[in-house]
Symmetry: C2
Subunit: 278 residues, 2 copies
């Protein structure tokens, strides 16, 4: 039976007697199979599984994007129940950011390129809310989707740097049968956009195949992705990247491992995806 | 018997079996009677007392100020021993900020005036290192001197905002018999400067007495402090403040409580002090 709490105080009370270790799955709701995989993993590795559902205004630069972020708490709770989640923390904005709140956690270099460049302030919002949720839940483990690879890197950096005793665990991206990465934003796609959206994955696969054939030029791999995206008229590429997997700095030449990533717009909907190399 | 540890790992091991609650006294060393009072308070309220000794480079804007900050670990350890401290954490800079460290905790409005304006970046350094130390020690209570009133306000804000489960406790300023607030920086004063330094306290007392006689004008109270400081040729006033005790915004008119504070230079040595009203 999944229990739901809405305040910091209720959460503290509920967690007091909770069996350890605790596994935390932070989400913004509108749960999909990607979240379910995180919950299943958390449940398999912990005595207590906690899911947070909080659409964090501080990580949205664009108020319109925040306003239209999809929400359906009743459905989310059914999914948590089905996945055997013990506790859901679904706070209001004022509960996460109480009156007088005025602290920001900022991550440096790793948060600057890619999503950080495209969405100014986004990772400050992520780093801050995750610090708060980690502080509140004090889980041994926290689970995030590798689909948001840079987000995972930012959160891992914060947890290490601020000596937060929660281990950050990245889980593989879950995809639709046609390759589209699961995302709450997919719901915004019109049917033609939805049909076009697997081009992200096709672009990544094209670059991965070029790499597998021996291509090591960063520019060549980026061009491969751009060409694939250009073949889809509904897709507008925002960025394509072939970067150092640790620093996310763009690579001239791929030596060891690397991260391919991209951001693409379909009308007003922005999707991201990535694929590690090596 | 005081035990000393120098790495995050040693600290974790030492704290594992420590009796709760834990009381933490973060210091930059060169311990004086102000620190001793914090340790005594921590010891009286906790089963385990932990002192950290770390001169935090990130809270010094001026490298010369950092270089000449006084240090004497052997003497500090004797004082910890005498005060019945259980554990001293005296890490290197690389242990607090490991390779790749790249996270900053920033506090907004409360950190901007006074010391924040005089020492750009200072409170980011304070908020960041305290977040780390709180994360590492996970104490129930942490003790700070009211002499650094704005620092206490900044740290309290961070702990509440980031849901750090450590209660921040401010302890009264400890003074020399002539009124000079205890500070590690006092050691830098030449004999004539040392003789002049109680002017900070005299200025605060003069303003407090004016307030006690009914003076409620912020400007008049600030002028009272400036006049007192001007009477001491070796003292150069940096700022005088009569501010809202909660927000530290300068007051035109004192209604309820307020905080008098000032920063004064004697040659290259900068001293601060403060006195609450109401």
């Amino acid at each position: 039976m999944t229990r739901i709490v809405r305040t910091r105080a209720e959460l503290r009370t509920a967690l007091g007697p909770a069996a350890r270790p605790i596994g935390l799955v932070p989400t913004m709701g509108w749960l999909h199979d990607g979240h379910r995989a995180l919950m299943a993993r958390a449940r398999s590795e912990n005595a207590t599984t906690v899911v947070t559902i909080f659409v964090n205004p501080r990580q949205f630069g664009d108020p319109a994007d925040l306003a239209r972020y999809p929400r359906n708490e009743a459905r989310d709770l059914e999914i948590c129940e089905a996945e055997g989640v013990d506790l859901v923390f679904a706070p209001s904005v004022d509960e996460v950011y109480p009156p007088g709140f005025d602290t920001t956690v900022t991550v440096g270099a790793i948060g600057r390129p890619l999503e950080g460049a495209a969405r100014p302030g986004h990772f400050d919002g992520v780093a801050t809310v995750v610090s708060i949720l980690f502080g509140l839940v004090r889980a041994e483990h926290a689970y995030f989707g590798q689909k948001d690879a840079q987000q995972v890197a930012v959160i891992r950096r914060v947890a290490i740097d601020l000596a937060i005793p929660t281990e950050v665990i990245a889980c593989p991206t879950i995809r639709e049968p046609d390759g589209l990465a699961m995302s709450s934003r997919n719901v915004h796609l019109s049917p033609p956009e939805r049909a076009a959206a697997p081009v992200l994955w096709r672009a990544l696969v094209a670059a991965r195949e070029a790499w597998a054939r021996g291509e090591r030029s960063g520019d060549a791999l980026r061009v491969t992705m751009r060409v694939a995206l250009a073949g889809e008229p509904l897709a507008t590429a925002e960025y394509v990247s072939c970067a150092d997997a640790a620093t996310l700095a763009e690579l001239e030449h791929v030596e060891g491992s690397a991260l391919l990533s991209l951001a693409v717009r379909f009308g007003t909907t922005r999707l991201i995806d990535n694929e590690p190399l090596g």
